[in-house]
């Protein structure tokens, strides 16, 4: 019972919650939304234990939807998507709680959109039908568009529309590629279906020119979402202008959809293209550029939120490097960084939002020496920053270490260059910490800042707990993702080495 319906319930519940929030009086909105998202998290927790590592797709449900086109409502979960779903359900109640005082206008609409967004995000991670996947991938744009555009900062309109059009540009080309796969698989087998397994069985054997075009389309959609180096320009705008909850979700979950897309579709569908030496070299170089460039640009940002945004570009560069290195350690490391980044960067954005609520400025130079005034906030910010840098003992270290270790076997030079990215990360974050927390307290406005309230602590403590847990004892995570990662690597490598694969 639980196994079969849980994913559908996880999809439907937030949408219902959104309706409830819209209908209820405004003053209940945030509490209702918090209750709904907390219930969602509670519902999703048993997945952690019920999940059987190595048993492939689980909790699956498959119901015909649009029979004419072979479209099914197909959902399922494996060792890759499990963590993404749990990360989503984990971050959502915190995002709601973190918005309690930040959002003051049109509260009902805001919380309803947050809940709708949850449905969309979970939908992307659990879809086993490419039509459903595409629908969810696009539908989730609308709530985010509104969250940035209505509740965002000064330049919110520009940021919102840029975010929307960039993402849509990539995904519509992916749509054409999906249709192409559908037809080619259909004409070969006589079965016209958008089911993931069906397309996965046919896609790797695709011939040279079309496979390249289709891979290009998928690549563009996911690379914009990740974002990889030249496609990243939407990200600083969107992150900076979005309200706190929006930034947290953007960084924590939306970016992971890109890397998830590569793991789920990009690589397994087109192994021959993805592992072609030129493509490999190109993507590894772009990842390295992302790591170094992201870090260097972050270093010179006067705006704290923008600094965090560029640090995301660097972190996601590590993820891409780990995925393309295609060793067990590196893929596991990439998956871990995906989770870590959601937690650490999420926490950083929460803290940036809390600072903004106190001072109404995001500029680093507006602060200085506030560690004496707000010791608790300073302590949390320090721990989170260290985790983002990847200090041993925090979650950040485990992921980056595994990626570098795994990548060294495949691309020793690239891994060496990437290591310097860790140093750059230390430089920009520690320097920012120094300027925000430790320099002399030279501004009068900063002398009366309030320390963390219990509500804010309630947002941050779960994140801190995760930082420590994953840093000290990551085995439960690794154990659950190992078979899936292993299987993915084997599948890609074997599909690539069969003679049928076109070079």
């Amino acid at each position: 019972m639980y196994n079969q319906w849980i994913l559908t319930v996880l999809l439907a519940w937030p949408a219902l919650g959104a309706l409830l929030v819209l209908l209820a009086p405004t003053r209940w909105a945030k509490h209702l939304a918090f209750a709904a998202s907390l219930a969602e998290f509670a519902l999703s927790v048993p997945l952690w234990w019920r999940f059987v590592p190595g048993a492939g797709m689980q909790f699956a449900l498959d119901v015909p939807w649009i029979g004419n086109w072979g479209i099914h409502y197909g959902v399922g979960l494996d060792g890759i998507s499990l963590f993404m779903v749990l990360l989503t359900t984990f971050l959502m109640p915190l995002s709601v709680l973190g918005s309690y005082t930040y959002i003051t206008k049109r509260e009902r609409a805001f919380y309803a959109l947050l809940l709708l967004l949850t449905t969309g995000m979970i939908g992307v991670f659990v879809s086993l039908d490419l039509f459903l996947f595409y629908v969810m991938w696009e539908v989730m744009l609308i709530p985010m568009y509104f969250i940035i555009g209505v509740w965002g900062g000064e330049d919110r309109l520009y940021a919102a529309i840029k975010f929307f059009i960039y993402t849509m540009f990539g995904s519509l080309l992916m749509l054409v590629a999906i249709l192409g796969l559908y037809y080619l698989a259909g004409s070969k087998t006589g079965v016209y279906s958008f089911a993931y397994a069906h397309l996965l069985a046919q896609a790797p054997a695709l011939g040279a020119p079309l496979a390249w075009w289709f891979f290009g389309a998928f690549f563009l959609a996911f690379a914009i979402k990740v974002p990889m180096f030249p496609f990243h320009t939407w990200l600083p705008d969107a992150h900076v202008e979005a309200p706190t909850a929006g930034s947290v979700i953007l960084a924590g979950i939306l970016l992971k959809m890109g890397t998830y897309g590569f793991l789920r579709f990009g690589l397994p569908f087109f192994p021959a293209v993805a592992l072609h030496p030129t493509v490999q070299a190109g993507i590894v170089i772009l990842s390295l550029v992302g790591i170094i460039y992201g870090g260097l640009v972050a270093m010179v940002q006067p705006d704290f939120k923008k600094l965090i945004a560029y640090s995301s570009v660097a972190h996601l560069g590590f993820v891409m490097l780990g995925i393309w290195a295609l060793t067990l350690q590196s893929v596991q490391g990439a998956l871990l960084i995906m989770i870590n980044h959601g937690i650490s960067t999420g926490a950083l954005f929460f803290l940036a939002g809390m600072l903004y609520e106190r001072r109404h400025s995001r500029l680093i130079e507006a602060f200085g020496g506030i560690a004496k005034v707000v010791p608790l906030l300073a302590a949390v910010l320090t721990i989170v920053s260290l985790s983002s840098i990847g200090l041993p003992g925090t979650n950040g270290f485990v992921g980056e270490f595994l990626v570098l270790l795994g990548a060294f076997q495949t691309y020793p030079i690239a891994a060496t260059i990437a290591t310097t990215g860790v140093i750059v990360a230390a430089a920009y974050l520690l320097w920012a910490l120094q300027r925000v927390l430790f320099n002399p307290l030279d501004k009068r406005e900063n002398e009366k800042l309030l320390d963390l309230t219990p509500r804010e602590l309630a947002v941050l403590v779960p994140l801190l707990a995760c930082i420590v847990w994953m840093g000290v004892y990551p085995r439960p995570f690794l154990r659950r993702m190992e078979p899936a990662a292993q299987q993915l690597i084997q599948q890609i490598k074997s599909a690539n080495s069969t003679p049928a694969a076109a070079r």
Binding site: I66, G67, N68, W69, Y134, V135, E138, V139, I142, Y145, F146, G149, V150, R156, L157, A160, I161, F164, I165, M168, F169, L172, L173, L175, V176, L179, G180, Y182, Y183, G186, S187, W213
Partner: protein, 503 residues
């Protein structure tokens, strides 16, 4: 039920819907000859029109239900599902237009119930076009429709812009008819017949596929149709005419009239010229030009009505993609698109009519600022229409666009598919700002939206359109089945065997 068109009974039954509607139109004409002064007369006339449309639709349903068909080859008029489905479409578009017109005519003091008579005659013309099996019938239907619409376009005779629109439409329409008629003459000269199926047989058996006279005739025919559907580069009249005409008339022109021209074009090309393949490239070229130019120019518009005019040009481009595929899947996609397009365009124009005064051409997109906080339901309806026009998942517009892409991919038209999705991204640049100003910008001044009122019947029309958009967006199964059966029903030529779709 098989009808013999050579005996009166068969012919009467085959023409029953047109006869019923003509009867009603005559009754209405008599009624308005005596009663045409007060608003009450106007309402009664509108009521009679609604009844006329409903009874005609019921007649069409009766023929469809009894699976009316022709014994032997169809003379003059086709008796197939394609005709019935397009009839419903025209009647539905007219019905929604009538609902919108009720309050509009009173508000704008256009107290002339002849409006409804002209509307009915236009619909009769459209129905003849959808069912024409002979180029002469096609021409008759086209003229009947066009003359009625010329008058409707200038119906607000006190408004110089409307007069200009009517004159422009008339002159261009006359030219288009000339081209069409000359094309028909040349085709007759080449094949010795004007019956569509017989033209097809002649082209096939006499190997006229590259006969210059036939090709010139076909080219002129295409030019005439391109004028009527406002395909680039024959679109210059459309923005001015759409802009100047009263809004319900514009809505009717953008949906019903365009649908009729497309329906006729589709039948002519698939039945008479499957062997003269040259038109595929021409239509594909027109489609590309129309999609690119329509979308790019729409991007520059600031007036909402003009923006919608250009957007309807862009949508003609998408429809031309479906025409260019020339398969039964293309026919089905075309029908589904017409349904979705009619709903969303009529909805958008109805909402525009609620906002503006005196022809609405002065409503800028920016004038909608803050509408969401004053008229949340209106803003929601307009947002749904915009998203559907954009082709966003969850709306009928997406399903329809998907179907066209599916049809294009099915015949390997990757270029058309790619351009379709890329121009769709461009269209986000002008549909989204409408949503943006409504939801994300404050009201310019306190009383900005006090005059905005959607009449009760127009409200019904908009509610029906929005409900249809959302319903078909999630559950299009019934519509798809109908379109698929209908699409198979349009047989190219009796002797011509259909190649299986695919590659």
């Amino acid at each position: 039920m098989s009808l013999d068109l050579s005996i009166p009974r068969g012919l009467l039954l085959a023409l029953l819907p047109e006869l019923v509607l003509t009867g009603w139109a005559m009754i209405l004409l008599l009624f308005v000859a005596w009663r045409h002064r007060t608003t009450r007369d106007l309402r009664v006339a509108g009521g009679i029109t609604a009844v006329a449309l409903v009874t005609t639709a019921a007649t069409v349903w009766w023929l469809w239900w009894n699976q009316a068909g022709v014994a032997g080859i169809a003379q003059m008029v086709a008796v197939d599902d394609y005709r019935w489905v397009t009839d419903w479409l025209f009647l539905g578009a007219a019905g929604l237009t009538v609902l919108v017109s009720f309050e509009y005519l009173e508000r704008e003091r256009l107290l002339a119930p002849e409006y409804y008579v002209l509307l009915l005659f236009a619909v009769i013309g459209m129905m003849l076009m959808g069912g024409a099996e002979d180029l002469m019938v096609l021409f008759l239907g086209l003229e009947l429709m066009s003359i009625a619409v010329y008058v409707l376009a200038g119906f607000d005779r006190r408004n110089p812009r409307a007069a200009e629109a009517a004159l422009k439409y008339f002159l261009i329409g006359a030219f288009a008819s000339g081209f069409l008629l000359y094309g028909i003459a040349l085709i007759y000269g080449a094949t010795g017949t004007t019956n569509l199926s017989l033209v097809g047989v002649q082209v096939d058996s006499l190997r006229l596929g590259s006969d210059p006279m036939l090709l010139i005739g076909l080219g002129l025919l295409l030019v005439g149709f391109a004028f009527k559907v406002a395909a680039v580069p024959f679109h210059m009249w459309a923005p001015d005419v759409y802009d100047g005409a009263p809004t319900p008339v514009t809505a009717f022109m953008a949906t019903g009239v365009k649908a009729a021209a497309f329906a006729a074009l589709f039948r002519v090309l698939t039945e008479a010229f499957p062997q003269a393949g040259a038109w595929r490239e021409i239509v594909a070229g027109l489609a590309i030009l129309t999609m690119v130019a329509g979308n790019l120019v729409a991007l520059a518009q600031r007036s909402l009505k003009r923006m919608l005019a250009y957007s309807s040009i862009a949508h003609a481009g998408y429809l031309l993609v479906a025409v260019a595929t020339g398969t039964s899947a293309g026919t089905a996609a075309f029908l589904v698109y017409l349904v979705a397009y009619t709903l969303m365009t009529l909805g958008a124009f109805a909402l525009l009519a609620a906002k503006g005064r005196g022809g609405e051409s002065d409503v800028l997109i920016d004038d909608l600022a803050g509408l969401a906080s004053r008229r949340p339901w209106l803003a929601f309806a307009l947002a749904v229409c915009m998203l559907s026009l954009l082709g966003f998942p969850g709306t009928a517009g997406f399903i329809a666009k998907w179907y066209i892409l599916l049809a294009a991919a099915g015949v390997g038209e990757w270029l058309l598919a790619a351009i379709l999705v890329l121009t769709s991204v461009v269209s986000a640049g002008y549909y989204l700002p409408v949503i943006m100003v409504m939801y994300m910008k404050p009201e310019p001044f306190e009383q900005a939206h006090t005059g905005v009122k959607l009449g009760r019947l127009a409200g019904v029309a908009v509610a029906a359109a929005v409900a249809g958009i959302l319903y078909f967006g999630v559950r299009p199964n019934g519509l798809l089945d109908l379109a698929k059966e209908t699409g198979v029903g349009v047989k190219p030529v009796p002797t011509f065997t259909v190649e299986p779709s695919g590659r």
